[in-house]
C-alpha cells in the first residue's frame, strides 16, 4: 500500500472512523433519507422569507393584505372593463404598468434550483422607491446567500454565511443593485425592448390568442446576437406573467433564465424593506452610514495612505483603542474589534508596506504586507506576518477621502 493511502487510512482510524465502508447505523440512516427523497415529489410551496411569515401572522397585516388583494382584483376588473383599447403590443404593456406599485419577482437560472427574488415598490411615476433582494449562494458563491434592501437613502446587506450586516450608501453598489432590478422590473424591460424595436436591432413576433384566458406572447429575436426572449402576457391585465431568456446554439433554443412576476399590486409591508428587525443579535454590524469610518487621505499619495491605514490599525490595536481600530476595519464596533483582534495582543509594529495595487477591489485598492510582534498569554513573543492586508478608498463612496481596511465581506 502506498504512503498516501496508508496515511489516509491511519488518520481516519485515529479519529475512530473505519476507512472502508460505513457503519450499519449510518447505512440505515442514509437508506431512510433515500426512502424519503425517492418518493414522488410534490410541487414545492413558494419560498418566502421568515419575516414574511411573521408579518402575515399579524391580524392587522392579514386584514390589510386582504384589502389589497381586493384592490388588486378591482384593478383587474377595471382593466377588463376598459372600453377604449389600444392595439396590443409593447406600448400597451408599458401603459398597464403605470398602475403597478408593488410586485414580486423570481429569477430562475436554468442550471440552479434556488431563484433570485425581488420585492419592488414604485412611486406614481414608476420610479423604484424601495426594493428587497434575496440573492442565493450560487449568485456569488464567495459571499454565500445574501439579503439586501435598498432605498435612495440607505442600503442594507446581510451576508448570512459571513454573519455580517452592512449599512451603507454607495453609488458603486447602488449601481449594481439597481442594474439587478432593471433586469427584473417589467416596465423597464419593456421600455428597453421598445427602444430595441425602434432601433431595428430585434425582430418581434406578437401572438394574441382569441381565447382571452390564454397568455399572449411577444417573441423577440436579436438580429446580431444569438439570443431570443419570450414574454408571456396576461390578456386580461396586459401584465407580464413571465419571461424566458434563451441563447441560440446550433439552431437550438437553450433556456438560460426565466423571470416570473407575482403579486402585482399586493401591498408589501414597509418592514420588508429594512433588515434591522431580522438580523440576529450577535451579527457583526458594519455601519458605514451613521459614523465616520477610516482615516483621511489628506496630502498622502494613494500608496502612502494605504500603508498608513494599516499602520494606524495595528497601532490602535497596540493602544487597545478598539473603537478606533474598528472604524478603520470597515466600521465594526469596538466591542467586536476587541473580540476579534484582542487575542492577537499586538505589542509592536515591525514593518508595514509596501502597498501593491489590488485593482480587483476597486481603482484605489491596495494590498499591504506587514509584520507585527504579538505576545501570547504565557508571555512568549511571536512575529506575525500578514502577507496581504487590503486597504482602499472609494471615490464614489460615502466617504470618498477615507481609507479603510476591508476583507472578508
Amino acid at each position: 500500500m502506498d504512503n498516501n493511502r496508508k496515511l489516509f487510512e491511519g488518520l481516519l482510524k485515529a479519529d475512530g472512523i473505519a476507512p472502508e465502508g460505513v457503519s450499519e447505523s449510518e447505512r440505515i440512516a442514509f437508506s431512510k433519507m433515500l426512502d424519503g427523497q425517492l418518493k414522488p415529489k410534490k410541487s414545492k410551496p413558494v419560498h418566502r422569507p421568515d419575516i414574511w411569515r411573521k408579518i402575515m401572522r399579524s391580524r392587522i397585516t392579514r386584514f390589510s393584505t386582504a384589502a389589497m388583494v381586493i384592490l388588486a382584483v378591482m384593478l383587474s376588473i377595471m382593466f377588463l372593463d376598459r372600453s377604449v383599447s389600444t392595439a396590443f403590443g409593447i406600448e400597451r404593456v408599458i401603459a398597464a404598468y403605470n398602475k403597478v406599485r408593488f410586485l414580486q419577482v423570481r429569477q430562475f437560472k436554468a442550471t440552479q434550483e434556488e431563484p433570485l427574488e425581488f420585492w419592488i415598490k414604485s412611486d406614481e411615476q414608476g420610479n423604484i422607491t424601495n426594493a428587497r433582494y434575496y440573492l442565493p449562494e450560487h449568485f456569488q458563491p464567495e459571499d454565500g446567500a445574501k439579503l439586501a434592501t435598498w432605498t435612495p437613502e440607505k442600503a442594507e446587506l446581510w451576508f448570512k454565511r459571513k454573519h455580517s450586516y452592512l449599512i451603507f450608501q454607495s453609488k458603486r453598489i447602488e449601481g449594481w443593485m439597481l442594474s439587478l432590478l432593471e433586469q427584473s422590473q417589467p416596465k423597464l424591460v419593456m421600455k428597453k425592448l421598445l427602444e430595441n424595436q425602434k432601433a431595428g436591432t430585434v425582430e418581434i413576433d406578437i401572438q394574441e390568442p382569441q381565447e382571452k384566458q390564454k397568455l399572449a406572447t411577444i417573441t423577440v429575436t436579436y438580429k446580431s446576437k444569438p439570443k431570443k426572449e419570450i414574454y408571456y402576457i396576461n390578456q386580461a391585465t396586459d401584465l407580464i406573467t413571465h419571461i424566458e431568456y434563451y441563447r441560440i446554439e446550433k439552431n437550438q433554443d437553450v433556456l438560460d433564465l426565466t423571470t416570473e412576476f407575482y403579486d402585482y399590486n399586493v401591498s408589501i409591508d414597509e418592514k420588508m424593506f429594512s433588515l434591522k428587525d431580522e438580523i440576529p443579535e450577535d451579527v457583526t454590524v458594519l455601519d458605514q452610514l451613521n459614523q465616520l469610518i477610516g482615516i483621511a487621505q489628506g496630502e498622502m499619495s494613494y500608496e502612502e495612505a494605504a500603508v498608513e491605514t494599516v499602520r494606524q490599525f495595528f497601532q490602535a490595536l497596540i493602544d487597545k483603542d478598539y473603537p478606533k481600530a474598528g472604524l478603520i476595519f470597515s466600521g465594526i464596533s469596538g466591542e467586536k474589534t476587541k473580540e476579534y483582534f484582542g487575542w492577537l495582543n499586538v505589542a509592536a509594529i515591525i514593518s508595514v508596506g509596501p502597498a501593491k495595487p489590488y485593482p480587483i477591489c476597486g481603482p484605489h485598492s491596495f494590498s499591504v504586507a506587514c509584520e507585527v510582534e504579538s505576545i501570547s498569554g504565557d508571555g512568549e513573543k511571536t512575529i506575525r506576518k500578514f502577507g496581504s492586508v487590503k486597504a482602499r478608498c472609494g471615490e464614489d463612496e460615502m466617504h470618498p477621502d477615507r481609507w479603510i481596511i476591508h476583507g472578508g465581506i
Partner: protein, 179 residues
C-alpha cells in the same frame, strides 16, 4: 478501470436518480467526508447532523452538477458551506489573511510518514483552522492545489503557501509531541 473513471460513472448514475449509485457514493465518501467535517467543526459534536445535511444536498442537487469529474470539489464545497452555515464561524470574517500568498520555495517542504498517522492526527488538531483545512484535503483526498483552491475559494498561490506553512507547523507540532 481507474478510480476517477469509476467515480464518474457512479456520479452519472446518481444524476439519473439510481438509488444503488447513491449508496455506492455514500460508501466511498462518507468516512472521509466525516473526517473533514470534524476537522472544520471545532469539537465535532455536530458532525453527524452536518453530514446528513450534506448528503441531502448532494441528493437534491447532483443533477445540477455540470461535470461529473469535479464531484469531489463540489462535495467538499457543499460540506464547507454547511459547516460555516451551521456554526456561523465569526472568526472567518475577520481573521486577516496571515501568510497569504507569501512566496515559498517548495524545496524544503516536509513529508510525513504514514506510520506516524496517530501523531499526525493529534498535531493536525492543534493547527490553525485554515492550515488544518488545506492539509486535511491534501491528506485524505490527495487533491491538487487547484482543486483545494476551488474548495476553499482562494487563489492557488494562497493554497500553495498555506500548505507550505501548514506542513511546517505540523512538523513543529509533531516534534514538540516527541519532546
Amino acid at each position: 478501470m481507474d478510480f476517477e473513471k469509476q467515480l464518474e460513472k457512479i456520479v452519472h448514475r446518481c444524476m439519473d436518480g439510481e438509488r444503488a449509485a447513491f449508496e455506492e457514493l455514500f460508501e466511498i465518501y462518507h468516512p472521509r467526508l466525516k473526517y473533514y467535517v470534524r476537522r472544520l467543526d471545532g469539537d465535532g459534536s455536530k458532525a453527524d447532523d452536518i453530514s446528513q445535511e450534506i448528503w441531502l444536498t448532494v441528493f437534491k442537487k447532483i443533477d445540477k452538477l455540470k461535470d461529473a469529474r469535479s464531484f469531489a470539489v463540489w462535495l467538499y464545497r457543499i460540506a464547507r458551506n454547511k459547516v460555516y452555515d451551521g456554526f456561523r464561524r465569526k472568526d472567518r470574517f475577520v481573521r486577516l489573511p496571515e501568510e497569504d500568498e507569501l512566496p515559498v520555495s517548495g524545496n524544503d517542504e516536509p513529508t510525513f510518514d504514514a506510520n506516524d498517522a496517530k501523531k499526525l492526527h493529534r498535531a493536525l488538531n492543534k493547527l490553525k483552522d485554515h492550515h488544518r483545512e488545506v492539509l486535511t484535503l491534501c491528506f485524505i483526498e490527495q487533491m491538487s492545489y487547484q482543486s483545494i483552491a476551488d474548495v476553499v475559494d482562494c487563489s492557488i498561490g494562497t493554497v500553495r503557501s498555506r500548505i507550505f506553512y501548514a506542513k511546517q507547523s505540523l512538523r513543529k507540532e509533531m516534534e514538540s509531541q516527541n519532546g
